[in-house]
């Protein structure tokens, strides 16, 4: 055996290759630059492509939009479970996607991480300026799915907690959240300034999923960043602390659409959003998580119940 095994040489070659790659590609590390424009884009045909994030709740909303559009006579193609904004936003810009359920605050943050607006109306207004040509957002729903400072009922009772500011003065607090929480305006630095709360971050990278919930329930952390449409909040009788200073960006559900979504399709999506309440979204999510129902069934049942089918 030589000192430099074949594996070492391969690794060296890989690093060298990386260098070459990095030298060529200058601005797009994920290789997601839009390919060619969709030839069907300008012909005015009525096939719309509805996408969703790789997030079950987002897929349910996408399916609701899709079925509502089909009900209005549009042909719909479904492209669900597309990863992150880095992947699907270029597709929207290229005309390969037409409708995508989005969340106001995060979408704005993607295009302008310095934006300092904290209410939905200003977010929608700011998006009007930040979005690339050809893309627009429609009227937001009441339903939202945003970050939160959530505690157990027992911990809330013990310390008399109703708002984030009530955490001030409690020693040794930690919050389970994704690592980017540290950099957000509502992160540890933000609540220190706005509410005088000292809290440390325990990064758990499952976006408010079961690991984050488990850390809260077993007392590893006293606070967790759960998303407010998460059925686990009601199921475990958790308390979402109020945010009177509006540090946390609102994440109202709103469709991000391409130019091929005409006035009629826009009206269909507006009708859906007008009825999609916060409690509806929690209920829809609960059906998926607790009853393992398919998003197509959940969506058609909700549309029928709202008289939109």
């Amino acid at each position: 055996m030589s000192v430099f095994s074949r594996r070492t040489l391969t690794a060296v070659a890989a690093v060298a290759g990386l260098g070459v790659l990095a030298a060529c590609g200058t601005s797009d590390p994920m290789g997601t630059s839009p390919a060619t424009t969709d030839p069907g884009a300008a012909t005015g045909d009525t096939t719309l492509v509805v996408g969703s994030q790789a997030y079950y709740s987002n897929e349910i909303i996408a399916e609701i939009y899709a079925q509502a559009l089909e009900g209005a006579g549009y042909t719909v193609e479904r492209e669900y479970q597309i990863g992150q904004r880095e992947v699907y936003l270029p597709e929207l810009e290229a005309g390969d996607l037409d409708v995508m359920p989005e969340y106001g605050g995060n979408l704005l943050q993607y295009y302008n991480s310095d934006a300092e607006v904290t209410d939905t109306a200003s977010i929608v207004e700011a998006l009007g300026q930040e979005l690339p040509d050809g893309l627009r957002v429609l009227t937001p729903a009441e339903a939202s799915d945003q970050d939160s400072y959530t505690v157990t009922r027992a911990f809330a009772d013990e310390h008399n907690l109703t708002a984030i500011g009530d955490l001030a003065g409690i020693n040794g607090l930690t919050i389970a959240a994704n690592s980017e929480f540290a950099t957000r305006p509502y992160g540890p630095d933000g609540v220190q300034q706005a509410y005088g709360v000292t809290i440390a971050l325990t990064p758990v990278e499952d976006s408010g999923g079961p690991l984050t919930l488990r850390a809260l329930l077993d007392g590893t952390t006293q606070v967790a960043d759960l998303y407010t449409a998460d059925p686990a909040i009601a199921d475990n009788d958790l308390v979402v602390l109020d945010d009177p200073e509006s540090l946390i960006l609102p994440q109202n559900v709103l469709p991000l659409v391409s130019e091929r979504v005409d006035a009629e399709a826009e009206a269909v999506l507006d009708d859906v959003n007008a009825q999609l309440s916060a409690s509806d979204l929690q209920e829809l999510n609960a059906q998926s998580v607790n009853e393992q129902r398919r998003s197509a069934d959940i969506a058609s049942e909700w549309l029928a119940a709202k008289g939109l089918a």
Binding site: M1, V3, T8, A22, E86, V204, D206, L211
Partner: protein
């Protein structure tokens, strides 16, 4: 802008190096997790491999287990153990041990089995006990393969130890996840480069160790 240059600049920035969240601290954690994971795996896999290699018993089982364990998806295991045991280092550490076991087990029994049968029979004929045959003949002759198994296990664990950060522990994965979540690609690439660098250094060290562990009589045969 060039991401690779940005990544090196990120690493070189003194502000990113010191402190409990600095590169040195995370590098130390990362190396520590890998060393502990592989050592724990050695405690189980080396004795088991020696026994299988020496006696020839349970070989089918060992091969089967080692192959099956290689197919375990580590992220799935980390998540599952996190749900069972809570967040923190325990879950990922068990996953790292599971990741390291197959290579070490295979390297150990293959090393013992590969010992020249003539030498083994000669040792036995000379009146050595089975324990002496194992420790004085089979183990020294099999040492290069055994260390090769540990070498390969260590590389896998170093490359995978980033997952510790998924469930609240430290290591270089902290930079990787933070970079991913905040679209800070230079930081993400910097973390990857640090993992690659750590793996390269470890591999070279193991290569030297493997060379020195090769008995003098075997060195020319390669």
């Amino acid at each position: 802008m060039n991401y690779l240059l940005d990544a090196f600049a990120w690493i070189a920035d003194p502000a990113h190096q010191a402190g409990p969240n600095g590169i040195w601290a995370r590098l130390g954690e990362h190396l520590g997790y890998s060393v502990v994971g592989v050592l724990l795996a050695c405690l189980v896999a080396v004795p088991a491999g020696l026994w299988v290699g020496h006696t020839g018993r349970g070989r089918g089982l060992a091969v089967g287990l080692a192959s099956a364990a290689r197919a375990l998806p580590t992220l799935g295991l980390v998540t599952l153990l996190g749900l069972l045991l809570g967040i923190g280092l325990v879950g990922p550490m068990i996953a790292f041990v599971a990741l390291a076991l197959p290579s070490i087990l295979a390297g150990t029994y293959a090393g013992v089995e590969a010992a020249d049968r003539v030498a083994v029979d000669g040792a036995r004929a000379a009146g050595m006990t089975e324990w002496q045959v194992l420790t004085r003949v089979e183990l020294p002759l099999g040492m290069p393969l055994l260390i090769g198994g540990i070498r390969s296990a260590f590389l896998q664990v170093v490359a995978t130890a980033t997952l510790a950060a998924y469930v609240g522990a430290g290591g270089l994965g902290r930079f990787l996840f933070l970079g991913l979540r905040t679209q800070d690609y230079p930081q993400m690439l910097a973390a990857s480069l640090l993992v690659v660098g750590l793996a390269l250094v470890a591999d070279i060290a193991f290569g030297l160790l493997q060379r020195f562990a090769t008995p003098a009589g075997l060195r020319t045969t390669r």
